[in-house]
């Protein structure tokens, strides 16, 4: 039987790697993917705790996290497309003016 701490440590490592990706990467889309990695790590922690305490509320929250991540990805990628069209570059350091 696998203790729950293993799952939590895996979730923490994935979250940390997501933060590293978010801070150090230049391409907007890769930063976005690092955010999705963080959300996935949090989902793993939720499911692990839901099994640990035998409650279904964790799984419901995972469901909502997945749905909200879908909506966020749609709108975020639309914004990325507008930025790419206007700035002609996907480098996040080029998006440094307040007006487009």
């Amino acid at each position: 039987m696998i203790p729950i701490s293993y799952y939590l440590i895996l979730s923490a490592v994935l979250f940390g790697l997501g933060v590293i990706g978010f801070v150090f990467k230049r391409n907007i889309i890769t930063i976005f993917m690092a955010i999705e990695l963080m959300l996935n790590a949090v989902n793993l922690a939720f499911v692990a705790f839901s099994r640990e305490f035998n409650q279904l509320d964790g799984l419901i929250f995972v469901f909502f996290v997945i749905v909200v991540a879908a909506a966020e990805a749609a709108v975020g990628l639309a914004i990325v497309m507008v930025i790419a069209r206007n700035r002609k570059s996907l480098n996040v350091e080029d998006v440094n003016l307040m007006k487009l």
């Binding site: 895996l10 990695l37 989902n43 035998n54 419901i60 469901f63 997945i66 909200v68 879908a70 909506a71």
Partner: protein
């Protein structure tokens, strides 16, 4: 070392390798594929934790739709290779050891807290055959308000994406 532990170690290693590939890859398409690998290994871990429905939803929605959207946008925008940044020496020589130390300390405290408890609940528990029924009962009675709000949220997201991505012509 039973088969549940083997599956956990395999999927854990796959997830961490995928996350590292996400960070270290040079092409965004390879990063997207690495993220799909992470999601699939997490889905197997959900199966191991007895949440079969959530595992299927994760693959169907997250890996099968959201990441396809990512891959499409990467291909349409022709995102080229990543520019190698000059990572500051401070981050490499101080940050990484400090981060590893934090991780080990957290692991130690987690093991002390949870490691000795009765762990019969985790592991290769048989998937609950009524999970879908119970989840849907909970979702549509206790959590019906967040459910309806998320449906409105998705509608707003679709409309917003349409308006944003339209060309001015």
């Amino acid at each position: 070392m039973n088969i549940a532990m083997l599956v956990f170690i395999a999927c854990g290693v796959m997830a961490i390798v995928g996350a590292l590939a996400l960070i270290l890859a040079r092409e965004p398409v390879h990063s997207a594929l690495a993220l799909v690998l992470v999601m699939i290994s997490l889905a197997i871990l959900y199966l191991l934790l007895g949440a079969a429905f959530i595992a299927a939803i994760q693959i169907l929605v997250y890996a099968g739709a959201i990441m396809v959207l990512f891959v499409f946008v990467i291909m349409l925008l022709n995102a080229g290779e990543e520019v190698r940044t000059n990572v500051s020496r401070l981050a490499k020589w101080v940050g990484l050891p400090l981060g590893t130390f934090f991780l080990l300390e957290m692991a130690y405290s987690l093991f002390r807290e949870y490691g000795s408890r009765a762990v019969a609940t985790s592991g290769a528990a048989a998937p609950d055959p009524n999970l879908t029924q119970q989840l849907s009962m909970k979702l549509f009675t206790e959590f019906v308000l967040p459910f309806e709000l998320t449906s409105i949220l998705i509608l707003i997201a679709v409309l917003g994406a349409l308006v944003l991505a339209k060309r001015e012509s």
